[in-house]
């Protein structure tokens, strides 16, 4: 499974994206709420205390412990589940976010609900959720913001009943814009989360 999860470079991936407009959602937990409950932190610890993130964190994360060269030939290709899932997901649109925000807008919720229904039909499918930002932010900060966006989508799916172990998040910050422009039109397209069906378990 670990090996399979490595096929990020979206060789076999059909990219799906969802759209949206604006506003907040009551239905989805905010990141701040979730992170407060993260396992590596105990309530008694102050921010000054140091704890190790270690092995107990991220049991479901995809990265292997050993450095692994990306080797496309290793990947299981064109598994039928992936293909049909990809085809279905292609019909959906892209999830967008407001500037410097990771909250799911109502239009995003609507798109994610459609996606969640499809994902439910493929319980073995592994989905990578990519978080992206527009160029108006620093590299470091946008890497963190993109992670939040991806995680907001992941949280929605988990709440919908999708197996968390099938959901991988990756932030690309502002490094992979789909529109190279320098105006609001381009920026609003680039602030997005993208679903990439990677593989099956």
């Amino acid at each position: 499974m670990k090996k399979l999860l490595f096929c990020l470079i979206p060789l076999l991936c059909i990219v799906l994206m969802f759209t949206t407009c604006s506003k907040k959602t009551a239905g989805v937990q905010s990141d701040k709420g979730e992170t407060a409950a993260q396992p590596s932190k105990t309530p008694t610890k102050t921010p000054a205390e140091v704890t190790s993130p270690d092995t107990k964190t991220e049991p479901s994360k995809a990265l292997p412990a050993q450095p692994v060269q990306t080797d496309k030939t290793d990947h299981e290709q064109s598994i039928s589940v992936t293909t049909s899932l990809g085809n279905e997901i292609l019909q959906l649109d892209m999830v967008h976010f407001d500037y410097d925000s990771y909250e799911l807008r109502p239009d995003a919720i609507a798109a994610l609900e459609k996606a969640a229904k499809i994902l439910k039909k493929y319980p073995d499918a592994i989905i990578t959720i990519e978080g992206h930002c527009d160029e108006r932010g620093t590299v470091e900060y946008n890497l963190a913001l993109g992670e939040r966006r991806a995680h907001a989508v992941k949280t929605y799916f988990i709440n919908y009943g999708i197996n968390p172990n099938n959901l991988i998040t990756i932030s690309y910050g502002k490094e992979k814009p789909i529109d190279p422009g320098h105006n609001e039109d381009a920026w609003s397209k680039n602030r997005r989360a993208v679903l990439v069906p990677s593989d099956t378990k």
Partner: protein
């Protein structure tokens, strides 16, 4: 790259003879803006005026950009008879071309008294001309001002290559650029080890999300830095070389951690639901500046190296990020979002004396200090494309170093010592 390595490792082929005095001509005081006027007549040469002229030009460019010296032409300036432009020091040089190498001797002479300040000679190969010129420039600056210039430094940066982002390297003047990585992935945020022998950076090259890796110059290899699973970004070595600060993102939340220099023994410094990122060590390695949006917008904070005693540094503007602590410890450079994009700003570590250095002509990102703190390097899209620029720490002498577009994320090497 090969050229760089050759000149870097063939050190025994060079030698230097110093028989000058070591007292400093003019100790540069902090904040002083006076420059020493020097004259540098054409170098004498037995048979290679082209090489001698090239050598002189590189040295002259280096000296003029050092921030400490101004090379003047006494003949041209005598017509205007500006008092300020009387040379205080004369630099003379002689190039002797042998079969496949050349020797170069230069002298510094105080113009009024005729006192010899320094005589030094070097032997080099024509292909290593630039290395020799930079070495001579730094020697001159050191002799006259008591501090080495930055000419013997390099700048690592990120360059776009057909959709991928690779690490690249160039001299401090933008010359001799070369690609370091060829993994066709995304490589970001390089940072130098204190000995200049490796770069630590954020990469997607191992598959999955971003992790930390190290580029070793000697064998041109990349190795993974932290073995265990997770999303890692924004590494920086502590100046004492013992630790690395970086960002680990868990469940969507970015926090700052440190590890030993071998990537072991992770320690968590921030435990905040906000984004905490972009750590930068103080020169004492006792404190860390970083970006956090815990107040609702990204701002610069400082904390102790163990994570305690967090205090907010910036209050102006609602997006301040990418702090880098100055080598002298007194200031922090960062980017601040203004109407035209990010601008490079400086603030004292006390939170006072905020000034912005750039001109609102485009956006400026990822500032980094030269090792002696006299210069800054950054990326800007002021030309319409992202390029690397350097400037003096007061924002003057903005110099474009790259011209190919898609160049970002520069970081300045420590002073490299090819002749030792």
């Amino acid at each position: 790259m090969q050229k760089y390595l050759v000149s870097f490792f063939l050190i025994p082929l060079f030698y230097a003879i110093a028989n000058g005095q070591v007292d400093v001509f003019l100790k540069i005081q902090s904040g002083e803006s006076r420059k020493i006027n020097v004259a540098m007549p054409e170098f004498t040469t037995n048979q290679n005026p082209e090489l001698a002229g090239h050598l002189r030009q590189i040295i002259m460019d280096d000296l003029n950009y050092s921030g400490y010296l101004k090379v003047i032409d006494p003949l041209a300036d005598s017509a205007t008879a500006m008092n300020l432009d009387i040379p205080e020091v004369i630099i003379t040089g002689d190039v002797a071309h042998k079969s496949n190498y050349f020797s170069f001797e230069f002298r510094l002479t105080e113009s009024v008294t005729g006192r010899k300040l320094l005589t030094k000679s070097f032997r080099s190969y024509p292909f290593a001309l630039r290395v020799l010129a930079h070495t001579v420039s730094d020697e001159i600056v050191y002799q006259l001002c008591g501090e080495y210039g930055n000419a013997c430094t390099k700048i690592a940066y990120v360059t776009e290559q057909k959709g991928s982002k690779e690490l690249a390297l160039m001299d401090w003047d933008g010359q001799r650029s070369t690609l370091l990585t060829h993994n066709r992935s995304i490589n970001l945020l390089p940072c130098w080890s204190g000995d200049g022998k490796s770069l630590l950076f954020t990469t997607y090259a191992f598959g999955g999300g971003p992790i930390l890796a190290r580029y070793i110059f000697k064998d041109q290899q990349i190795e993974r830095f932290i073995e265990h699973a997770g999303t890692f970004t924004s590494p920086e070595y502590s100046p004492d070389g013992k630790k690395v600060a970086f960002v680990l993102t868990y469940e969507g939340n970015a926090d700052i951690y440190t590890a030993d220099r071998n990537g072991q023994n992770l320690q968590r410094l921030t435990s905040n639901p906000a984004i905490d990122t972009a750590p930068s060590w103080s020169p004492s390695s006792r404190e860390i500046a970083f970006t956090s949006d815990r107040s609702g917008s990204p701002q610069i904070y400082i904390m102790d190296a163990e994570g305690g005693n967090v205090r907010r540094l910036t209050y102006e503007n609602n997006y301040n990020s990418s702090p880098k602590w100055s080598p002298k410890g007194d200031q922090i450079v960062f980017v601040s979002l203004q109407s035209s994009g990010f601008q490079i700003c400086l603030i004292d570590v006390t939170g006072e004396n905020l000034i912005c250095l750039t001109d609102n002509d485009g956006s400026y990102e990822n500032p980094a200090w030269s090792p002696n703190g006299s210069h800054l390097v950054c990326a800007s899209n002021r030309s319409g494309r992202w390029e690397i620029y350097s400037m003096l720490r007061d924002g003057s002498l903005l110099r474009q170093l790259t011209f190919s577009g898609g160049n970002t994320g520069p970081t300045w090497s420590p002073r490299l010592k090819p002749f030792n």
